[in-house]
Symmetry: C2
Subunit: 297 residues, 2 copies
């Protein structure tokens, strides 16, 4: 553990993204609200910009129009030419990268909060992309993985923060989920204001869930799903899944058990949007991350 | 009450519709299963046909492609010419009407079970279209209304039965909802087999909820939603809503109370698909229906 506080640049420019998936309603409605009246998200010494990232998908109340915007921020997409011939979300990714990035550059926004909902019973989850980002270190799902890359919208920022709150069906706005998300944003912005004002935050240890593996639904030879998430696993995000525990239930009533080598913590269980991504749930492993004390440089 | 059993024609031809809305997964998966292997739905003396009504919407996992198939069975749509220029669901409605109707004719299928899921906490609900259909008389929502007409897919049958089971998010298959739906269908088919075999069913009184009014979300002058279903009402389908009870919560924290003249029983509370139909929930009134004894003619 470091004895002295890590010195970090203050966060002068913060964006709040809603509608990266157009049918995840809490983020869409919150950002629309704040675009009309930003009083609630103003903080001293911070420029806060609420922004609808995929307005066409929001209008259609669909996840995306041509391709998943939240997987579109790859180096290839961001540098490709083609203008009007490109898929809508690739063009939009380039626009967003120009406005809030460029990704990896000193001109990039300091923090982007990206507001998402899930049909999974995940509660309030922060999705972080690096275990070395002391600025960010709440439930934390760490998407830092040698192989699984996401190329998210928020990744154009220096400190990208995904906020995933559920369960909420696609196309539905639930007051409890909406208010939770609003509350977390309020605290996050308060934190940034205090940090910019020079407050030192002490070191802390945070329990996080590191993304491990994606588990697909059992399928037949034609790729058709032949089993559902087992009732014992459904809605049990973040709870331990041990070798031998029920995992799937086939349509003819058989139970399929988890065969891994040790305890894992499933998340994104039965998320609607992940059927097309061949994912019934993701496994994670718990670990402790030590965040050093931080204060502004 | 009638002393003698009403004599009704036996039900020789029964269809089970799934995928009338392509993102309501329990019905889609059950019907796909039974199309591959119909052993589970075979009954003596009954021809049972499982059928995916909107295969294009199922493929895209969306409610519909051009227009809501389950509102498309109007006399105008069913008689209009135009072939390939017509919206996909209108063409499909004409095909379904030829296969399972024609609507109102002696050639029509006897019974159509139409399998639906809702994001509302409605449990297992039968949707019936007439209070005079003794054949049908289980929670029952009676869509018999002088003004609100639906023109559903199942309406081509002599005895149309909608089955609505929730809560289940769009695009998600939950094992509990799937198994409930499967169980209800099993009992319904058993009933038809016994009826056809000559069993007499005694008269009974059934509590039903008669559709009364549609309540929209509060909106601003531009038509934008400015309030959510109140947490006290969310998930409280079929429970009494009394004058003065909280109904909506505005984004700035105000409560909007129900102002009706008497107790109603809300249903379809916060159904995802009804945002575009300007409906936050529907009110119903409880009534008792007396079904006479029935046996086959």
């Amino acid at each position: 553990m470091e004895l002295h506080a890590a010195r970090l640049d203050e966060a002068r420019r913060v964006a709040i993204f809603g509608g990266t998936h157009g049918n995840e309603m809490s983020g869409v409605m919150l950002v629309n609200l704040w675009v009309q009246n930003n009083t609630e998200v103003q903080r001293k010494g911070v420029e806060v910009q609420p922004f609808i990232t995929n307005p066409k998908a929001v209008e259609k109340c669909t996840r995306y129009v041509d391709t998943d915007l939240n997987r579109a921020f790859t180096p290839e997409n961001l540098s490709t030419l083609g203008g009007g011939d490109l898929p809508y979300e690739v063009r939009r990714a380039q626009e967003i990268n120009r406005m809030f990035g460029p990704k990896g550059s000193p001109e990039a926004y300091d923090v982007i909060f990206d507001l998402h909902n899930t049909t999974s019973n995940m509660g309030c989850t922060l999705l972080l992309e690096s275990s070395k980002d002391h600025f960010n270190l709440c439930l934390v799902l760490l998407n830092e993985h040698p192989l699984l890359k996401y190329s998210t919208s928020r990744s154009v920022a220096k400190h990208p923060v995904g906020l995933e709150v559920g369960p909420q069906p696609q196309g539905v706005l639930r007051s409890n989920i909406f208010e939770s998300m609003r509350d977390i944003l309020k605290h996050a912005l308060d934190f940034i204001e205090l940090f910019n004002a020079g407050m030192e935050f002490p070191p802390c240890t945070v329990e996080v869930f590191r993304l491990s593996e994606r588990i697909d639904y059992p399928r037949d030879d034609n790729g058709n799903i032949i089993a559902m998430v087992h009732p014992n696993l459904q809605d049990c995000d973040w709870e331990p899944l041990n070798p031998g525990d029920p995992m799937f239930q086939t349509f003819d009533g058989k139970t399929i058990h988890y065969q891994g080598s040790g305890t894992v913590y499933p998340t994104f269980i039965n998320e609607a949007a992940y059927y097309e991504k061949q994912q019934a749930f993701a496994t994670t492993r718990r670990e402790s991350l030590v965040a050093s004390a931080i204060r502004k440089a």
